[in-house]
């Protein structure tokens, strides 16, 4: 069967069977930022947006997204680069394998939460595992990024 959906603003079609998951479809369509880390919905590496909301593409059936809007890191390049530069400035991307899914959820968070405190940030991102950093550098990057965004709004 084929499924048609909007990927990063462009209408695309892909082949899929009943049990094909969105993750595989996206990688086949060249969105290599989307990584598989666990297959059991625990790690957050495969985070993409479905109609603007963070979801785990390893567990979204490809056929179920007919007509919907899917966004991957490739589709939010500018924003990802902007936040990514804060991450890199802390050295907190480390191996980088969890970065795309993490960045997608950070961008979803800053859209959804107004002025989150540290606890709210940690809780929102608790589904994004990282084995390299111990999370502290990511948190530093987020705090600096949010400060930077506030300054941008003011100026």
């Amino acid at each position: 069967m084929t499924v048609e959906f909007v990927l990063n603003g462009k209408r695309v079609t892909a082949e899929a069977t009943g049990d094909t998951v969105l993750l595989d479809v996206l990688r086949n369509l060249g969105c290599h930022s989307v990584k598989c880390g666990c297959e059991t919905t625990n790690c957050g590496l495969c985070t993409v947006w479905v109609n603007g909301k963070s979801r785990l593409s390893c567990s979204v059936l490809a056929l179920s997204i007919e007509g919907q809007e899917i966004t991957t890191l490739e589709g939010v390049k500018e924003k990802a680069e902007e936040f990514g530069s804060f991450l890199a400035a802390e050295g907190a991307e480390q191996c980088g394998f969890c970065s795309p899914g993490f960045i997608m959820n950070v961008l979803a968070m800053v859209r959804e939460l107004k002025n989150p405190n540290i606890e709210e940030i940690k809780e929102y991102l608790s589904g994004n595992l990282c084995r390299c950093t111990g999370y502290m550098g990511q948190l530093r990057a987020i705090c600096k990024y949010m400060e930077h965004m506030k300054e941008e709004v003011h100026s």
Partner: protein, 266 residues
């Protein structure tokens, strides 16, 4: 590994129900648990076009569509007004936001999972499930029924003047719980009544009802006696996450703490 031969987005509940009568047909929830199994599904039925993703609040009930996500439950203002943070507390430890944007209330309830926080919590309230064919029945009755081919349409929580406290113990913050516990108190037919729901024992949650009238200034010792009596009404088992003995102890502690918190709220 899960195999799905045929995926259908149902156009009506009627169609979904009829498709579901086939032997290897399954209704899809958030696709989080089913995907981990090895089921061979002939027809998978998706209910997501049927408007079941709303939480409707009326003067008497909350009607939670089966396809509502746990995240919707967590953020719902009306539930917050009535139950404080307790409903949100019962879901916010579940994996992460992405997971809860996907996991459905219907899937959580239909699955009757031993580890389910949601089930533990809903069970302690005046909760019913609306079935497509089987009418509206109490949640406590539903979860003990044999699985059949009916479709869970919505969860209905009857509003009442009851207070809810939810608590759970986990080894790691986003792990499955070692024990879950929901305590509810309020007048039922004019009598002060307590409901105790304990799950992840590791068996699925079960609810007990006690007609207890407990004074606000009860001593710690006497309150502990009540909690022990309530905890003794459940059976406990051992698995990787904890022993039966420890779970029983946790049940006593969590029940007592929740009772205390409820009494202090008055």
């Amino acid at each position: 590994m899960l195999t799905i031969n045929n995926y259908v987005k149902a156009k009506s509940l009627e169609e979904a129900y009829e498709l579901n009568q086939a032997r290897n047909a399954r209704i899809m929830g958030g696709m989080l648990w089913m995907r981990l199994g090895n089921a061979r599904v002939q027809t998978l039925i998706d209910l997501s076009d049927l408007g079941l993703d709303q939480i409707e609040e009326t003067a008497h009930v909350f009607r939670i569509g089966a396809m509502c996500t746990l995240r919707q439950l967590e953020l719902h203002e009306g539930l917050k007004v009535l139950y404080g943070d307790s409903i949100a507390e019962s879901v916010r430890h579940i994996v992460g936001v992405q997971f809860r944007n996907q996991a459905t209330v219907g899937g959580s309830v239909y699955g009757r999972f031993g580890f389910s926080d949601v089930l533990t919590c809903l069970l302690s309230l005046d909760t019913f499930v609306e079935l497509y064919n089987g009418g509206t029945i109490r949640l406590s009755e539903f979860i003990n029924r044999k699985r059949d081919k009916d479709i869970l349409v919505s969860i209905i929580i009857r509003k009442s003047n009851r207070r809810l406290k939810y608590d759970a113990v986990r080894r790691a913050k986003t792990d499955f719980p070692v024990l879950t516990c929901a305590v509810v108190a309020g007048p039922v037919h004019g009598k002060e009544t307590w409901y105790f729901s304990v799950g992840a024992r590791p068996m699925k949650a079960k609810v007990l009802e006690k007609k207890w009238s407990i004074p606000r200034d009860i001593s710690d010792g006497l309150l502990m006696d009540y909690a022990k009596e309530a905890a003794a009404g459940f059976d406990y088992g051992t698995n990787m996450r904890g022993s039966a003995e420890y779970r029983r102890h946790l049940a006593e502690v969590l029940i007592r703490r929740s009772m205390h918190a409820i009494l202090m709220e008055e």
